[in-house]
Symmetry: C2
Subunit: 398 residues, 2 copies
């Protein structure tokens, strides 16, 4: 099969050369369609060295670029005689990236890839494999179930939607009860991210099959939970309303989680409903939410996972007062919390990385026990958070 493809490519390459065209696309041997492509889409293609070839047909466009991830400079695409724009990027950092095409200055999704909710919208995604790393891919092991549950929240006075992972034996081992991990997404994402982008279900399936993690339920809630505003109280308006939007949008999460989600989960699922069998973790914005909520409720959560977010910018928190004062007495914290995990990727931007490093050092200096993990070679992106979950899950409920 590969041989035939190469032969056809060479033939095509030759005929294109004879016509005076460019032959680079056909010369890119060994590139494979990304797993994030929609069925039948041959591009984007990824090389063994992680370079990516993008293509997009836009005969009338003046300029087309591709923007991969949030921080990368866009790559200019080159227009072919057939109106197809293309580019092969240099090697790209492995893992899942949101990406966009920029057509005459407008950022749009690539129809060739599935979309994933991120950056406040459904965004094209591309998953670049990391050599030798497959802990988050589907394997021939028993698979848990991912469930979607709708309910009406008293806190937000709205219909909400939970994504819930139950472990492989949940539906057969009907006498068993399970611990629960509450797992939060980042800014601009939603409750679908940890499954669709993060592959949390496959990470747990693989860990459980290997005997490295306890079977557990994972509950993924939307981190945007605006407290219901009484009818008489107007919503913020005026120049500051835009700035207030995010805090207001997340103002109700603590209450929602404690008063709506957890009681719902403990009544609808066979959970072990106590502190030592309940964990919370999150990434970026979800990490800051996790730290704020768990430290205010140490009788509720026995395990804490903070992935790529401490909440004090690049600076260090004052542990006497920050995080609801939970670290003011390190010995008491160490006794109460069974597992505390702080993670960061080695390639995250310094504005993300410095704050987490400062948090880690401050915790160390104060004698607050925690596992500090640096995801090697990955950025403020899902590959880091996949690795965090892979490291954190085995710590839980042991």
């Amino acid at each position: 099969m590969k041989k035939r493809t190469m032969f056809l490519s060479m033939l095509l390459c030759l005929s294109v050369l004879l016509l005076g065209g460019v032959c680079w696309a056909q010369s890119e041997a060994g590139l494979q369609p990304a797993v994030t492509n929609v069925p039948g889409a041959q591009y984007p293609r990824i090389g063994a060295d992680s370079r990516v070839e993008f293509r997009f047909k836009a005969p009338e466009a003046q300029k087309v670029q591709v923007q991969v991830g949030a921080v990368q400079t866009p790559f200019d695409m080159i227009k072919g005689a057939d109106g197809v724009w293309s580019v092969t990027t240099p090697p790209i950092v492995p893992g899942f990236h949101y990406y966009y095409l920029v057509i005459d200055g407008v950022m749009v999704d690539d129809p060739a890839s599935y979309t994933y909710y991120g950056v406040g919208k459904d965004s094209s995604g591309i998953d670049v494999p990391e050599k030798g790393v497959d802990f988050y891919t589907i394997k021939n092991v028993p698979h848990g179930t991912v469930r979607e549950q709708w309910y009406h929240s008293k806190t937000t006075d709205s219909w909400r939607h939970l994504v819930i992972y139950t472990p492989p034996d949940y539906d057969t081992n009907l006498k068993a009860r399970y611990p629960v991990l509450y797992l939060q997404h980042g800014s601009g994402e939603d409750e679908t991210g940890w499954i669709r982008q993060g592959h949390a279900n496959f990470i747990l399936d693989n860990l459980i099959a290997a005997g490295k993690a306890k079977p557990m339920i994972i509950v993924m809630s939307n981190g945007y939970a605006a407290k219901a505003v009484p009818a008489a109280q107007p919503a913020p308006s005026g120049p500051a309303a835009g700035l207030l939007a995010e805090p207001r949008m997340t103002s109700g999460l603590e209450e929602e989680l404690l008063n709506d989600t957890i009681p719902l989960i403990d009544s609808a699922f066979r959970t072990i409903a106590d502190q030592s069998h309940r964990a919370m973790a999150g990434l970026s914005m979800g990490s800051m939410q996790t730290l704020q909520i768990t430290t205010a409720h140490l009788d509720t959560f026995g395990y804490i996972g903070a992935f790529s977010g401490a909440g004090f910018g690049a600076g260090a928190p004052d542990l006497k007062t920050a995080y609801n004062g939970a670290f003011a007495d390190p010995a008491a914290f160490n006794k109460k919390v069974k597992g505390f995990f702080v993670g960061i990727g080695t390639d995250e931007p310094s504005r993300m990385r410095d704050g987490v490093l400062a948090f880690h050092k401050t915790l160390d200096d104060a004698g607050v026990k925690h596992i500090f993990y640096e995801a090697p070679g990955t950025a403020h992106e899902w590959q880091t958070w996949r690795k965090d979950l892979f490291q954190f899950a085995p710590v839980l409920f042991q």
Copy 2:
């Protein structure tokens, strides 16, 4: 709240008029953001008369249009001084539509709307309410669970993904066993369509709460199931390969369903695993698949739902030979099949409608018992299929 908004709009309108600008947007009183918008997106907006206002910022674009549904002529958008293109369409047929922005000749998704897998890609969707019709919206009734299950199929030799609805009492009424409806999507769609576009879960929740449908499991499988090709046998190539793609892609569904999906469901769920408690239905391509598969396995399926697809173009089938000869002996068919449903929307294009009408007439002439249902005022789109399911589900398993 509405009064304040109107007052603000008038103020804004006035100030814009004073500045010599255009005020049409603010003058569109009563338009509401679509339920299919991503959080925070104020456009598209829908009026009580079903007209839709679209907006999109593209300062450098030469021409922007919006294409709603498959058959509608694109609407030209008008560029404002701020680089925002906009248009308010005439009233649009109610229901769920895929739609696109056409920017300088390129069809792209609208970042303001969620995407839905259709037309072979993740496509923008807009749900236009139908006056007085709310059977598919979420209500304050007990809600079932939507589950995702991954498994390895022997037929396709690949990982596949099922979407499964379990009724509200499935996890509490642990002694109960349930009938199963296998429900197929249309061409270019996938197993997520019946939940995300169709709201099959809310339709069943509402029917079950009203005592109008039996609690049942619904299994949604991907209708594209290419039989695994032995390594020695090359895939089709040459000029005809493109034409062969769709039949080849669906060649394995019958085998996959019978040998992989149904045994998996009957072992993993508390089903009643017999013919009179097993139904199959589908829409468009899925309707043709349903007719072909059920008529070849009348000992397996006791109920058949054919929504908007008969499989013989605009013509009438020869019932002596078509559909595996299952209708050749109408009396035998009528005795064996407990419920047979044929549906079509009154506003479907004649190339869709004529074939289903001819099928219905042929069945009538031959004395094949069936329920014929015409969805009033809707097209070859999800509003028709929502209505079909709403009519068909109460027939099942009675």
